[in-house]
């Protein structure tokens, strides 16, 4: 009997951090413009110590303004989506649940479209509007998904699916009847795009995103013992003293916020929220006290690697990240499914 200890969690996370670090280095290294590792290290180092003027020309822009923000965004988005996916799989008691199943991404997309129509050039408007759309969808699905005043997994799932289809239909309608040129970008956004978001104020931006991630993921983590029990049965968990209704509400809100966050800044990158928790379960077990942090790290790694691939496979053409995660994701998922049959 080897119960999970904080030490094991720390070791596993340290290992995954290491992998993430390597992935980050690889991602910094590769791209349409070749840069040697030595140049990267120099550029990074000089940036950290504040010597901007000494950097080799052109490298500063590419490393600090294009690749590094992209990597950091990828880490954030990957971590958010995987944590949300793990949460939803427990909340909905369904291993096929992914962060988009409750319609949050469709709501965000609708918000983004409306902002593109109304104010195409306003900085940061798309992200804010997308998040507002996500928030509205979260609230709507919550109210639809209740039964007897409490969140019920089956009802929630149905409500989410209905919301997702309805919102998608509206989006389709808008995209075909309105002929604004800015809607062209929507197709990209819908497939996931880490590239062109470079906000006017990166510091505030990243700090805000990071803060939201920590709060929401932390909330989910705090319920991980509860989730372990809920996964053996809701009634059983109640009898063991779990406040099931409160836990479900917390997980619902936190996971939806994480999803809304990720989708607002980078569109709907698929498969991450579905696959990574399963992969981590296969590797490290189903205990949510370990699964939540490993999913976060695993998701970050996956998105960074997928984005690197997307940028470099048919350079200089950039494929959308969502396509890469799907191409990599489908075979892995099939493999997982066949293994389950054992």
């Amino acid at each position: 009997m080897r119960p999970l200890t904080p030490r094991r969690i720390a070791w596993v996370c340290a290992g995954l951090f290491g992998v993430l670090f390597v992935a980050g280095v690889i991602s910094l290294r590769l791209g349409a413009y070749p840069i040697s590792v030595r140049d990267i290290v120099t550029t990074l180092f000089q940036g950290v110590i504040g010597r901007w003027d000494d950097m080799p020309g052109g490298l500063k822009s590419i490393v600090w303004e294009i690749r590094l923000p992209r990597i950091m965004l990828g880490i954030l988005v990957g971590a958010s989506l995987s944590t949300a996916g793990a949460g939803f799989q427990a909340l909905l008691r369904n291993p096929l649940a992914d962060p988009y199943v409750l319609g949050v991404s469709s709501g965000a997309a609708l918000g983004a479209i409306i902002s593109l129509i109304a104010a195409p050039h306003a900085p940061g408007a798309i992200q804010l509007a997308a998040f507002a759309g996500a928030a509205a969808t979260i609230a709507a699905v919550y109210f639809l998904g209740r039964r007897g005043g409490q969140l019920d997994s089956a009802t929630l799932l149905l409500a989410g699916i209905v919301a997702a289809s309805f919102l998608s239909a509206i989006i389709m309608f808008l995209m075909t009847t309105l002929s604004g040129r800015d809607l062209r970008g929507m197709a990209f956004w819908l497939m996931g795009d880490l590239g062109t978001i470079s906000p006017a104020n990166p510091v505030r931006w990243f700090e805000a995103l990071f803060a939201v991630f920590v709060i929401a993921a932390g909330a989910i983590y705090a319920t991980s013992s509860d989730l372990n029990l809920i996964l053996t049965g809701e009634q059983e968990a109640r009898h063991l003293g779990v406040n099931v209704n409160r836990v479900k509400l917390v997980v619902y809100v936190a996971a939806s916020v994480l999803t809304g966050l990720a989708v607002s800044v980078s569109g709907a990158i698929g498969y991450v929220g579905l696959l990574v928790p399963h992969l981590m379960r296969m590797m490290f077990g189903t205990d949510y006290r370990l699964l939540v942090p490993t999913s976060a790290l695993g998701g970050a790694i996956l998105v960074v690697l997928a984005d690197t691939l997307a940028r470099t496979i048919v350079s200089p053409t950039e494929l959308p990240v969502g396509a890469m995660t799907a191409i990599a994701g489908a075979p892995v998922f099939i493999y997982l499914m066949r293994r389950r049959v054992r």
């Binding site: 303004e65 923000p69 990209f188 590239g195 062109t196 990071f210 950039e318």
Partner: protein, 352 residues
């Protein structure tokens, strides 16, 4: 408990490290405010600030030696203005003129590689509303690169020509620009005069199919058709409306126009349509009035005028008799343009 503490401290340290990275990233944003592009070694030349076609303020250096274009029509325009040697890169889709294919590529118009663009250290990047995304232009602007966006979705051909004129002025090719535009205007005026007393022919312009996508009234293509003496039968306010075949039956255009641009395309299309159930009963198909023009028809570039002339020949064959063509050749020798191809008219497709 001790393991907890260690774990927490480690996590906090890493978290602090990650959190400090954004701070460092931000420095670069602040530094770039006053520069034109990221190379610190070159002192910026005195910039000229202009407003582009979408209202963005652009700082243009006086010397524009390195230009990157993000759309095929812009590449074509640059070459037409005689600035082809200043073009350092274009997109994968830029194939007119053929020399453009040999240039370095920065990716697709929709999602070009920002890195590749930055690495080229361009003086100016040209984008257009008809094919590039706002996000791309925003990102380039924030990276300190001058981006000029032209209005590609104009409503009339003359507006499009004005846009080219404006661009030519701003990038220091005013004289070349005036010549090119002068020719374009002259050819259009000549055509207009020729077709002055002819009735407009009703056409259906097919952008792509299936599903059948055509053009709306507010596009420059619809206007281009009018210059060619043709009127689009589709009265939609949408730019790219999708029609059902029933609607086409109701509209009964006199001609169906495709823009495939390769030899024999009209014949192929006619054969194809003749084999389809409802299409084959359309008046236009029965009479063989299926026409193909070059791809330039949908592109806001100097080549549009060629396409307009080509279409005019197809749908008003009676105007372009041999006598009139000799006049054309003479006036072409007087100008700087090569002679328009001859031998077209009626049912035979134009060889191009």
């Amino acid at each position: 408990m001790r393991a907890w503490h260690r774990g927490f401290i480690a996590a906090a340290a890493v978290g602090a490290l990650i959190a400090s990275a954004p701070r460092v990233v931000a420095q670069t944003g602040a530094q770039n405010e006053s520069r034109v592009y990221g190379d610190p070694g070159v002192a910026p030349t005195h910039p000229l600030e202009v407003t582009d076609d979408v209202g963005r303020r652009v700082k243009l250096p006086f010397e524009l030696k390195r230009i990157v274009t993000l759309a095929p029509n812009l590449t074509e325009t640059i070459y037409a203005l005689g600035l082809g040697d200043r073009l350092v890169a274009d997109t994968n889709y830029c194939d007119t003129p053929p020399a453009a294919k040999a240039k370095a590529h920065v990716g697709d118009p929709q999602n070009p590689s920002l890195e590749a663009i930055v690495a080229l250290q361009p003086d100016l990047v040209l984008a257009t509303t008809s094919i590039n995304r706002v996000a791309t232009a925003d990102a380039l602007e924030r990276l300190g690169i001058a981006v000029y966006t032209t209005a590609g979705d104009t409503q009339t051909v003359l507006q499009m020509i004005d846009s080219i004129a404006r661009l030519a002025d701003l990038i220091g090719a005013g004289q070349q620009g005036a010549e090119v535009i002068g020719q374009m205007r002259q050819r259009l005026d000549t055509l207009h005069a020729r077709l002055a007393d002819r009735p407009m022919v009703h056409v259906l312009f097919v952008v792509s199919e299936p599903p059948l996508i055509t053009i709306g009234q507010n596009t420059f293509i619809a206007d281009a058709l009018r210059w060619a003496g043709a009127e689009s039968v589709v009265l939609s306010k949408q730019n790219w409306p999708q029609l059902s075949i029933e609607e086409v039956v109701r509209l009964q255009p006199e001609y169906i126009v495709f823009s495939e641009g390769h030899a024999g395309a009209a014949v192929e299309e006619l054969a194809e349509l003749r084999s389809r159930p409802v299409w084959r009963e359309l008046d236009a198909v029965e009479m063989g009035h299926v026409v193909d023009v070059s791809e330039e028809a949908v592109r806001p570039s100097p080549g549009l005028v060629d396409a307009i002339e080509q279409l005019a020949r197809e749908v008003h064959p009676e105007v372009f008799s041999r006598k009139n063509e000799i006049q054309d050749v003479e006036s072409a020798w007087a100008g700087l343009k090569p002679a328009p191809t001859t031998g077209c008219g009626g049912l035979s497709p134009c060889a191009r």
